[in-house]
């Protein structure tokens, strides 16, 4: 039975190991778990780790990533790696998410160094996806997160995005 809690340090350790092995260029935590860094806590059932692939082929190096994580002792369940009982999804970046990884903030969790998306990039990514839950996320972030508004506006403009109207 895995220990309760979100194993973020183990997730960062796995991502750091992938980077050290040269399988990925860099990574950052995104998605809901990253959003919680800036908002009130809310339920989420997995961690999204965005990575810049070292292998720019169609598979984005996913087979090598899975093989490496398996060697580290992690298991798999469909598209997720299970790290100490918690599902983790590895997502290859595209233009906006690659920028978000490159400009991510360093963070230390339980003594392990990691990287996490800026609030402004999380909002821009939510605007680019545009599902109902993304719109709710944007509203929550705008209300609760301390934002660098000029930076957010610049990201939105650079990627031809706009915030949903209330």
């Amino acid at each position: 039975m895995p220990e309760p809690g979100i194993p973020l340090a183990e997730v960062f350790a796995a991502a750091n190991s992938l980077r050290a092995a040269g399988i990925i260029v860099d990574y950052a935590l995104g998605g809901a778990l990253a959003a919680v860094r800036y908002t009130e806590p809310f339920t989420t059932y997995d961690a999204d780790v965005f990575f810049i692939p070292a292998d720019t082929g169609l598979s984005a190096g996913i087979p090598a990533i899975y093989a490496h994580l398996e060697k580290l002792g992690h298991s798999f369940e469909r598209e997720h790696t299970i790290i100490r009982g918690f599902p983790v999804q590895w997502l290859a970046t595209h233009a906006l998410t690659e920028e978000a990884v490159r400009e991510a903030l360093p963070i230390e969790f339980d003594g392990v160094q990691g990287r996490i998306f800026r609030a402004e990039h999380l909002i821009a990514i939510a605007a680019s996806v545009g599902r109902l839950k993304d719109r709710a996320r944007i509203e929550q972030m705008l209300e609760q997160a301390e934002l660098d508004r000029p930076l957010l506006d610049a990201i939105l403009a650079r990627h031809h995005l706009s915030l949903p109207q209330k």
């Binding site: 809690g5 919680v36 908002t39 009130e40 806590p41 339920t43 963070i107 609760q144």
Partner: protein, 74 residues
């Protein structure tokens, strides 16, 4: 919860917020388990002798004959 209270929660340290997320996950999993068990809870024991009724209904029938009857109904 007021917007002010939400902002206070948003200002908590990340580790504390993740601890609360874990609690929320555990709570919602328990809730989902309870939800899934609801049909079992509402299931009522019937009356009568099922074996006797089964014998009355299906005596002399085979899978094939029941299949043919079902096809005829279609």
């Amino acid at each position: 919860m007021t917007a002010e209270m939400r902002k206070k929660l948003a200002a908590l340290p990340y580790a504390e917020k993740l601890r609360r997320v874990a609690e929320l996950i555990a709570f919602s999993r328990r809730f989902r388990t309870a939800d899934a068990s609801r049909p079992l809870v509402t299931l009522q024991a019937g009356t009568g002798d099922y074996v006797k009724i089964r014998d009355q209904l299906f005596t002399g029938e085979t899978v094939d004959s029941l299949f043919e009857q079902a096809k005829a109904v279609e």
